[in-house]
Symmetry: C2
Subunit: 460 residues, 2 copies
């Protein structure tokens, strides 16, 4: 298939208005938000507007063995939507209808291109709640969230995207269409294909629609900032909070370094001599929150935390906005940032932080540590102020060491970003050859030609 033939055929298949093929525009589709990874431009981008468009394109790709890479907002951090073999990128952003919000059934049915914040707003208007909240929520799409089992800070209490996907509509690599699951909470009919496709990073088919579970919107919420003496004290506190039966909706760990920056906007400033900081959000009924607040203050007093600040609800958004901006802020200030995404059991957080500090010292590389500590999901970020200072292989070594540290503590190599390209050479470390072999067999059974998002999850 020549390039001109491909464009000509796709124009006939879905119409010119749904195709992008100018060189400049294709550059945008060469990678995702992960910094400085292998990029690769596709031959063409199709922006389907209907399920039928998707089916036609996939059938065409099948007939001519052209690679297809489904793409949400491109906000991923593992290179999952990088079209390694060129071919067609399916940009799902035009399929962005919220089809139904059912207040009695507590479900929503949405197209894959719906932006997460758009869904949040729509359901919250109905006093409902969709918990998953990756930091990229203002731009990321549901299809991308589902394909990476995306998480976010609220996972500690509410779980991740997989916990809210009830059913999917999928175009398979042979162009056939299936509908898995449905809008019922209970479902015990055959293999759970819904969750097989959730987290498959677009390698098994194109997700076009999803049935999602909703919750009632919590009546109220409250933000608390705890300044701790040390990492160990912060980790102990996390354990104490959980064991006291308090499950915050968010429980973030921050090191000292970003606090100075935050203090430019916060009045009064937070104490800057803390060894670690916990950003806590409680949600639920007002009486329930007051109950939890009391317990939380007692715990902090008992453990001699430096400071506990209960933030006024009208100022809370500022604190969380700063937390969400941490990664883009670091990207802006440095030559290169590699955000890691490792999860460890909650009781292993101090051991993990200790290991990362040692790696940082040994390799003389700056590593910032923040994370959704409540659920053990840590994001050490390798900070390269000047990229001439370290070789690629040194950086790779550090990534490898961080990943191994997590695994040694019974953790996993990716909590919420997926494997994509970035970690495809490390997945065997966690999964082992036998498990990858099973995944490869499933891949082959569903996509025998290997046209769906090739080169991801494992190295061939």
């Amino acid at each position: 298939m020549t390039f001109n033939g491909l464009i000509r055929d796709l124009k006939k298949t879905v119409g010119s208005s749904k195709i992008i093929f100018s060189n400049e525009e294709l550059q945008v589709y060469a990678g995702d938000a992960s910094y400085d990874l292998i990029n690769h431009t596709p031959d063409v981008v199709v922006l389907p507007e209907t399920v039928d468009d998707v089916i036609k394109v996939v059938r065409y790709a099948k007939a001519y063995k052209v690679a297809i890479t489904p793409r949400g907002a491109g906000s991923g951090l593992a290179g999952g939507c990088t079209p390694l073999s060129g071919g067609i990128v399916l940009d799902m952003k035009r399929m962005n209808a919220i089809i139904e919000i059912n207040r009695t059934n507590l479900t929503a049915t949405c197209e894959a291109g719906v932006v997460l914040a758009q869904l949040h707003r729509a359901v919250e208007k109905e006093k409902l709640f969709y918990p998953p909240d990756p930091q990229s929520k203002s731009i990321c799409t549901l299809g991308g969230n589902i394909s990476t089992r995306a998480g976010g800070p609220r996972a500690i209490k509410y779980g991740t995207t997989g916990h809210y996907v009830l059913g999917l509509e999928i175009v398979l690599p042979d162009g056939e269409f299936i509908k898995t699951g449905n809008i019922c909470l209970k479902h015990s009919v055959g293999y759970d294909l819904t969750h097989l496709f959730t987290g498959a990073e677009g390698t098994l088919g194109v997700i076009v629609k999803a049935d999602l579970r909703l919750l009632p919107k919590p009546e109220s919420q409250r933000t608390v900032i705890i300044t701790c003496e040390s990492v160990q004290q912060a980790a102990d506190l996390i354990g104490d909070i959980v064991r006291a039966g308090i499950i915050p909706s968010t429980l973030e760990y921050l090191s000292r370094s970003p606090i100075k920056l935050f203090n430019k906007n916060i009045k009064p400033p937070l104490k800057e001599d803390g060894g670690a900081y916990l950003f806590v959000k409680l949600d639920g009924s007002k009486v329930g929150i007051n109950d939890d607040l009391k317990k939380l203050e007692e715990i902090c007093t008992e453990t001699n935390s430096i400071d506990i600040r209960i933030v006024d609800n009208k100022n809370a958004a500022l604190y969380w906005q700063m937390r969400a901006n941490l990664y883009p802020m670091m990207v802006a200030q440095n030559d290169k940032i590699i955000p890691e995404d490792v999860t460890v059991p909650r009781d292993k957080i101090p051991a993990f932080i200790e290991k990362v500090k040692k790696i940082s010292e040994y390799y003389k590389m700056k590593i910032g540590i923040s994370g959704h500590a409540g659920d053990g999901n840590m994001h050490p970020s390798i900070i390269i102020p000047d990229r001439d200072k370290h070789t690629e292989s040194e950086i790779l070594m550090v990534i490898h060491e961080i990943i191994k540290s997590g695994l040694d503590l019974r953790g996993n190599i990716s909590g919420e970003h997926g494997v994509g390209v970035l970690k495809s050479e490390f997945s065997y470390l966690e999964l082992g050859e036998r498990q990858i072999e099973v995944m490869k067999r499933i891949k082959k059974a569903i996509d025998p030609q290997g046209i769906m998002n090739p080169g991801k999850i494992w190295k061939n």
Copy 2:
């Protein structure tokens, strides 16, 4: 392989003390708790005590192409553990160790043969909570729960077994061993094999161990019985409750007929002229429950329910015991009972009940209706007081009509019992040929010889 050869070989493989092959004992393994279904005795039962035992038996079965049917307590209601092709039943009950309960990480790691009530007791002693609660909880095993994505009344608030399985240890049909997932809440590494095997009804491998997610034990609970004028009023109430942001931990629907029986034990008796009854349990903090109770009373007053009874906590267990005994009680009193398990969206419950009543009238067959109405999971039970009155094909027709009624309302054919044998001829109605084709390809990829629990989920 002759019968004698099989016994001799297995004795050598795992030792005589782990094998059952007398005719009388094999009868026990011919079926499950579903009444009057196709039964089939296995050739031999193996009771493995270690993962190594399981591996050895599966390798042996693979070498000689002998069928293997994994079995928990045999309390299933769809014939899922009936060894249709004879061969080996793997009775997992001896692998019943609770290996770890981690209070800080809120996780438990258990062998597959752990009885659910045993886990409930163990975690509750630590002030923790494992929500899934099928009515057979005093005998059913975790392996069986996982293999059927079992639910129970608490699913309305807490979801089903699948929501609590974080990782699995599995012996594959080729005798190889894999460990999927882990004890972390967040996990985004490759295909979600954990949930592919959860609900696979033992057709893809033998689950030997599971990592489970726990919650803090709710501080308190409260039982409320609401007597409604009509089915419609009960259904409206369910909607009103949910839309008011109250999610009870349990919300059961009962028809009038069992109430008379219950009244033999209840003081004062419940009013017997209700058109429908809701058994509600609220859980959470004491203040939170009081808040919900107030709202609930207001809703009942506004909708003119006949009666609302807030049950003393010390008497509540009696009400729930009677609810749990409903099915065995019906079985004891009638010649034959076929318990159906259909889920519909919550707002479609009255339409479903109406349809079932019409089926009952048309076929002149008694159908009792109860269900976990909070999550739309309805259990119409076909009651045959005298089995000579109806032919098998009439009964099959009624089952078919009930299932179709659920599907027409966007429901599914099995909420929590699985497909097993009982529904294997109906699964295509929900899943469609294309989706079953995908499942068959996965089955073939993982179990090419077809030795794992053959004949289940779909008709070949």
